[in-house]
Symmetry: D3
Subunit: 236 residues, 6 copies
Amino acid sequence: MSLSESTVAAFASAGTPTIASQLLKRGFRDQYIHGIAAISEGSKIIGPAWTMRTIPAREDMEGLWPGSSPEPGLSLFAVVESVPQGNVLVIDSHEERRTATGGDILLHRLKAKGAAGIVTDGSLRDVDGIRSTGLPSFCAGATANVSRSHLRVVEQNIPIGCGGTAVYPGDIIVGDADGVLVVPEHCANDVARDSCEQELLEEYLAERIRNGESLEGIYPPSAQVRAEFAEQRGKK
Amino acid sequence: MSLSESTVAAFASAGTPTIASQLLKRGFRDQYIHGIAAISEGSKIIGPAWTMRTIPAREDMEGLWPGSSPEPGLSLFAVVESVPQGNVLVIDSHEERRTATGGDILLHRLKAKGAAGIVTDGSLRDVDGIRSTGLPSFCAGATANVSRSHLRVVEQNIPIGCGGTAVYPGDIIVGDADGVLVVPEHCANDVARDSCEQELLEEYLAERIRNGESLEGIYPPSAQVRAEFAEQRGKK
Amino acid sequence: MSLSESTVAAFASAGTPTIASQLLKRGFRDQYIHGIAAISEGSKIIGPAWTMRTIPAREDMEGLWPGSSPEPGLSLFAVVESVPQGNVLVIDSHEERRTATGGDILLHRLKAKGAAGIVTDGSLRDVDGIRSTGLPSFCAGATANVSRSHLRVVEQNIPIGCGGTAVYPGDIIVGDADGVLVVPEHCANDVARDSCEQELLEEYLAERIRNGESLEGIYPPSAQVRAEFAEQRGKK
Amino acid sequence: MSLSESTVAAFASAGTPTIASQLLKRGFRDQYIHGIAAISEGSKIIGPAWTMRTIPAREDMEGLWPGSSPEPGLSLFAVVESVPQGNVLVIDSHEERRTATGGDILLHRLKAKGAAGIVTDGSLRDVDGIRSTGLPSFCAGATANVSRSHLRVVEQNIPIGCGGTAVYPGDIIVGDADGVLVVPEHCANDVARDSCEQELLEEYLAERIRNGESLEGIYPPSAQVRAEFAEQRGKK
Amino acid sequence: MSLSESTVAAFASAGTPTIASQLLKRGFRDQYIHGIAAISEGSKIIGPAWTMRTIPAREDMEGLWPGSSPEPGLSLFAVVESVPQGNVLVIDSHEERRTATGGDILLHRLKAKGAAGIVTDGSLRDVDGIRSTGLPSFCAGATANVSRSHLRVVEQNIPIGCGGTAVYPGDIIVGDADGVLVVPEHCANDVARDSCEQELLEEYLAERIRNGESLEGIYPPSAQVRAEFAEQRGKK
Amino acid sequence: MSLSESTVAAFASAGTPTIASQLLKRGFRDQYIHGIAAISEGSKIIGPAWTMRTIPAREDMEGLWPGSSPEPGLSLFAVVESVPQGNVLVIDSHEERRTATGGDILLHRLKAKGAAGIVTDGSLRDVDGIRSTGLPSFCAGATANVSRSHLRVVEQNIPIGCGGTAVYPGDIIVGDADGVLVVPEHCANDVARDSCEQELLEEYLAERIRNGESLEGIYPPSAQVRAEFAEQRGKK
């Protein structure tokens, strides 16, 4: 999927909590990737998912004995080269935190290729290097351990689970200080548009609350308050 | 309970580690709310507890199907309006982290009402918004998910468990960079006074240690060292 | 063990991810202390391990009843005084996070004695005080609770487990933003030297990747690329 | 709520997996109390919930110091005496497994009073004694520890969370070898009736599968197979 | 892979602890599927793996709203029909225990088709029914919840992770009272043969230990003791 | 410590829940070894603790590469030979469940030497073999994995932590269907005597409860009821 500029703009103007409200309205209760956060404060990620799947490592396959070497196969390097511009690489690491699923050189390459970011329910390595890439990077934590010490890459561009949530290739990934959401592709445009609207309304309501009004009638907003919002908005 | 100014001042001058030492002296071994931290660096919270209790959500009660709506009941909005000035809203979320127990608009209102802060053993949402409120906020983490997707509010102002520790309405909540303690109401004044004293002593001891003295005799302090502290203190 | 200046310099120039790669090459798959991080951003720790072991507290041994006092025994104070200059105090806390295994005054003393840092798979207390010491401090988190409320010190300078990894006295502890590694003493010099070399190579590769080359041939580097690196390095 | 005989009979004829299917059909996705099992093999429990809530213990409230005694309050003994005949005592223990929430003498009394069973997301004590009572008892495990060492009873007959699921007083509790379900009171009769029907159908299908037919058309059953079932059932 | 009769016989005569010793000798440190056990006491499973992979459920894909129905796709029913005779169905459930990955009717069909068993790192449902099938069934526990309430089937016959261990199609699954091991296909015959040998030796050693000899020289066995074993064995 | 016959008899007549009550009366709140259970139903264990400590394995120390072999050191075999008659071997495995801390041959030897049992907060292997030894064996679970794949023995007869509880050599270990308690040596005789008394009282009370009396006055027993118990006991 390639995202329209207006959808990207709408997602950019809305926080993930607002987007989660819009998903809940449509009956999607938990599209949140649990247990992960941004490596760099202030990161914001928006883009379609390019998925990758790992399984636990095995000594003979990964060359984990002194003098042995890994069996050939799909490599993380090859996957990185496959990620289309604007996409987010989303990795199913089975929530394995004992090892990293990638480090700074791979992220430099993702950045250079124009990827929109990386998301994994495992760990990443070389935190300082990752920050220097400027690539939005969300993970379960940092570790020094090398990927193949515990994980092997086996597939890409297939449906995966990540942090307890399904991710289908093309689903829209949106992440910020509150974490990462997976927006099903078929409703992404609608969710983006309505989230943008809700965000404006909530900013208006927050302003009134800050000015001392009580929650009653304001939040959640009454028909009267919604009308006042519409009127004020019309003026701008 | 309304806290005397001197008790507030005493708690404000002491770190939670010092207060925990004073609680341990009285036989309270673990008044710490486990698994939570401040959303904003540098937050300090002091105030009596106003408690709230949640249970897991159920589809028909919370309106979790498209087109359905929640059953009326005690709402988080109503609880927020009930929190007395200077109090801390403390929420029993059963350590459910899959969803937030509140977001920034509610915290704007708490702030406007003069509440002393919010504490939950679950998550909060809209981290950036929460920081902008300036309200001291301690929780188990951030998430984008909406409260009612996993939790329902059922009671307020009753004894609860939070992060593995009992919280009775009126207990004094004290939080800082080391986390949050629950000081039983009946000993709060004594604990505050003695913590303040201990803090002064420890600062004196730390100074001597930094100047190169060995721990022996200094920490824990001998009678001689305590006397020297008393003397120096008298001079000021 | 006392570390040679060149080994310290080599470890200082390499990140822990690079060191973990060198350990994996030698068949050490997981020398990482899991579940801990630095209290202060930017901390870097290098030094031989001085170990300490704790067991769970018991009421009669620790004086946990009002009016009672702890049984004498090996104290954390005595251990702190035993840590040789340049060493890292590494504590086996059985991953018990309900209590701190030390606070700021002890860390002031460690700093004054010239210790290289502290590492525990439990918690520490008085975060602000710890930051003020400037001592590199890695732990599982912060808590206000006092050590003896849940743990008792029983031995020092013996092999321990810490965060799921064996630590023998004299093993080299290296920590940074990616966490803490344990380098077996017998291969520390070799690992340090080769990590330093690898780091230079990786910086060279990262530069080329940033400049737009694809991963293929560059990372992992082909013989050709390695030769180009050697040549460029020779020029400097 | 008092259950009609036909509803009890219907629940008795259906396994909890079948009942969970009927709940899912109505949009209830997870009415299962997670993490618990029957103390005695073969236990089956059916009855309305009588709820009880606990919070963490505190030293001064529970008399946890030598020579001290608990503060009066709602006791587990009083709650046991309040449970109506045919009801199931369901306890919110905050999944605290370090202590029991009850032992054999209390369960002897529950049995003598005609209670239908006990369910807790914590532990029970005196496994052999509990088995001798014959009371259906579901819990997270066994422990020797005394209730008040970690928990205090605070309320009864209010909505609670148990094993991650909401339990309202009067909800129907059904438990067997697959664990315990909470059936919302307002749909209990319908769920019971339809579960009983589905169970008969599934037994019929299982018989055909055992006789060598493939799943296709049989499971899930086609219209044709459902008609054959109806016909065969009519004959009986 | 189809197993030779002699390999099946060898695995049948050896316990999984012995097989794990033989795997460790070859450098395979952890081929154990963690966190699972047999539903029925005394179950023994031997056969090549036929794998299946699941991801978390999503409301629109699984028909989790009242009145909605699942999107078509690979079904568990279709996978069950695909399992070759003598094979073990091994399921990657992401260790999701909130739902079952199968129930008794599917297992009746697996049994009728001549499958060797089922292994999942999730839960199964209808424990009594499963026991009645006689099919060796290993899982993380029982639950009443329906598969599609939390999981969706997406692929079969591909490499998966199960209980923290890699499983490639054709790897030999061996399970008993000590749990389940994955024997890489390429060394299965050798591991089977040597395990059978080791088991005989260990039975001989156990006999001598039971008769009162000390461990020294016997276990692990000296050359002398090995010779005595060989001699005795030759006599039989 | 060697236990007097009367103390053994007293412990044998009392269940661990009763003993835990007596420990709580003396201010010992949690002497329970958490997370373990008997391998064989009906096991009862009584005896002084002989302790052993492990740390995580390391590849070069344990010979975990093909063709390598373990470094000499304290072996589990040597520890087993050191356990005095009547003692219980108690193992600190850091709650590492990925590997066994012993198997059936070692337990045959413990049995032959007259040990009273084995307790570990890790796993054991060869469940069927262990049952055949008749040695009371308590652990966190079963696994096929070999000890040295994850753990190394380092010390014996020193204070350890096991399942979150301190165990000092000579402490009395008592285990049954409710799990395992650690009775501090200095109060073992008193606790045994009073537990035996309490057990008789509770059996008397249970009898009255079974006969239909309400809890009030009976449990906990009033002075009147205690007198009636004393009288009835005197008659026997």
